[in-house]
């Protein structure tokens, strides 16, 4: 529908909705007021009881301080190891998470420019300049390469850069490439992505040296499905992806072996696709857990955690933009809230807000305490810091994951909010 027709219809709808009669709610109101005495108010958590004047700066500081304490306590005392539930029969003995990586470069898409910053947000360098906007960016698990799809006129390209040498390789691609973040194989030698060949979408695997491109399970995946955000499990045994019919905003989550065998649909609710985030594997290769989004009652979104091995499904308490912490023991979500996975498994996810409670999705408040990361947070490889784009300005916002210290703003030039994508390079010994 053209913009002009859409505007015309909007005007008709607006007039029609407003010309409807005036409803009188007196009867409803009387019924409600009659029930107040028998309807006790639900007092909030202990924070609200302690700080009844909820909009004071002092309270915001109090909440932030309390959040710091909670995070510190949870982080140092109560974060037990994630439930290890084993995996499918074919899963080999996994490599346990053995210490976290150190923080390398922060890689940021800024329009058609790929930039890098030092771990403290200083020392900006330009890594690459593309003919069109860069659509997403993901660093390989070993931190040596970065992959980024980009627009090139009416085509999309997919480029891989060696972060040590700066050498780039344009991968062979089908007719079109999805703009979602690509999935890296654990060894960093291959990537998986959704692409279009003619009129059929496939899950593709490409070698990062550009030597090969193949469609996975091309004969068995329903060729009427749109393929979204394939991602490689950290143990290398599975690809997960969302297959969605051409209409609607919901699809199903599937697993398939990288060799194309054992394709099957996961028994989960329908997966909501859109700009609320992508499916993602828990980083711990000893478990097979996926985050995904569903439509929540009330019209919102809900981040759910699915354990592939047990088929158990959990509500994380988060709404959208989920992101695993590097050790897989925490999950962040909109907007800079964090839950502990052990609480999720216990059915009692408790959100800790890293910044003070934001207003709305992404507010522009006068001070840092009200700001929020507004395109999904990226964790630093050492798990201490969150970074994301601030929807208000052409800036990135970086802050300690426990809410302590002062957030740092990093200036960009062209990207705002959702257009900026961030990845953080892990440095492994």
């Amino acid at each position: 529908m053209s913009n002009e027709r859409q505007r015309e219809l909007s005007g008709r709808v607006r007039s029609w909705l407003r010309e409807d009669g005036h409803e009188n709610a007196d009867r409803v109101l009387d019924t409600v007021l009659d029930q107040l005495n028998t309807t006790p108010q639900r007092h909030a958590n202990w924070l609200a009881r302690r700080f009844p004047i909820m909009n004071s700066n002092g309270l915001r500081f109090g909440i932030a301080a309390a959040a710091v304490v909670i995070v510190a306590i949870l982080g140092f005392r109560f974060f037990g190891p994630a439930n290890s539930t084993g995996g499918p029969q074919a899963t080999p003995t996994p490599t346990p998470v053995s210490g976290l990586a150190q923080n390398g470069k922060i890689i940021v898409t800024d329009g058609n420019v790929l930039r890098a910053f030092d771990p403290d947000g200083s020392g900006m360098t330009v890594l690459d300049t593309l003919p069109g906007p860069i659509l997403s960016v993901v660093v390989s698990p070993d931190g040596t390469r970065v992959a980024y799809p980009y627009e090139n006129g009416d085509h999309q390209g997919l480029r891989v850069m060696n972060l040590s040498s700066g050498e780039t390789t344009d991968l062979p691609v089908p007719d079109a490439v999805g703009g979602e973040p690509v999935g890296w194989s654990p060894d960093g030698e291959s990537i998986t992505f959704g692409g279009l060949d003619g009129e059929v979408e496939h899950v593709y695997i490409a070698a990062v040296d550009g030597s090969s491109l193949r469609a996975v399970a091309a004969d068995t995946i329903d060729n009427g499905l749109q393929i979204l955000s394939p991602v490689w499990s950290p143990d290398g045994q599975w690809l997960a992806f969302v297959g969605k019919p051409p209409t609607g905003q919901q699809g199903r989550m599937y697993l398939v072996r990288p060799d194309g065998s054992e394709l099957h649909q996961l028994d989960t609710a329908r997966v909501e696709v859109g700009d609320g985030g992508f499916i993602s594997w828990a980083p711990d290769p000893s478990v097979q857990r996926l985050l995904y989004l569903v439509a929540a009652s009330g019209g919102g979104l809900q981040v759910r955690l699915h354990d592939v091995a047990t088929s158990e499904d959990y509500d994380t308490g988060l709404t959208f933009w989920p992101s695993w912490s590097p050790d897989g023991k925490q999950i962040s979500g909109c907007c800079t809230s964090i839950v502990n996975t052990t609480d999720v498994f216990a059915g009692n996810p408790k959100q800790v807000t890293v910044f003070a409670q934001p207003q709305g999705n992404c507010p522009d408040l006068a001070d840092f305490t009200g700001r929020a990361i507004c395109s999904g947070a990226t964790w630093s490889p050492d798990g201490t810091t969150l970074i994301g784009s601030d929807i208000v300005d052409s800036k990135l916002l970086m802050a300690p994951a426990d809410g302590s210290g002062t957030p740092v703003q990093i200036d960009l030039t062209t990207a705002t909010g959702l257009d900026a994508h961030v990845a953080w390079q892990p440095i492994r010994p």
């Binding site: 909705l17 409807d20 700009d275 999705n361």
Partner: protein
């Protein structure tokens, strides 16, 4: 927004809550009526929303956000009523129109009737987002806050809602055209 009134109601002051609710109840009922397209469902949803607002008010952290927060509870209540009813039958009565009829009254009635039928064919999500935008005049940011979705999703839902409405209107018009040809 009288934040003092909200703060008093948060502390259990029933008179303050009554004042808050009285100033908004008509608007809540009108919005839920437009979303649900059924006055009895809308009354139930409004009643449930007002009770939820009273019950959960102490949990509202910022009184200045009362309106956006209350709309969220209202939309939830509408969802609950829609889920209970699941009866989007075509026999539901049309909304009353108190406005004076325009000079081209028949055309206006026909247009309203078309919009009513088209609107009913939309999904709950799409009806809701159009009412929040075009009846309650909320911005995309505010709608995102009410629905708990990203702003981009709001824009997408509005786009798809209008596209769906256009398709419904076009489909509605087709039989008439065929009749005319015969």
């Amino acid at each position: 927004m009288d934040t003092d009134l909200v703060a008093r109601a948060q502390r259990g002051d029933q008179e303050a809550f009554a004042e808050l609710a009285a100033a908004r109840a008509d608007r809540y009922l009108a919005a839920s009526h437009r979303i649900l397209r059924d006055i009895s469902l809308a009354e139930d949803a409004t009643q449930q929303a007002l009770l939820s607002i009273w019950r959960d008010l102490p949990q509202l952290r910022d009184p200045a956000r009362f309106d956006a927060w209350s709309y969220r509870l209202l939309v939830r209540a509408c969802y609950a009523e829609a889920g209970k009813a699941r009866r989007w039958s075509p026999s539901l009565r049309l909304l009353p129109a108190d406005e004076p009829m325009a000079t081209d009254g028949l055309d206006a009635i026909f247009d309203r009737d078309q919009l009513e039928r088209g609107f009913r064919r939309l999904s709950f999500d799409h009806r809701t987002v159009l009412v929040l935008k075009h009846y309650l005049d909320l911005s995309h940011t505010e709608i995102a806050d009410v629905l708990g979705v990203p702003e981009g999703t709001v824009a997408s839902r509005i786009h798809h809602a209008l596209r769906g409405l256009r398709a419904a209107l076009d489909a509605d018009a087709r039989p008439v055209t065929r009749e005319a040809v015969r």
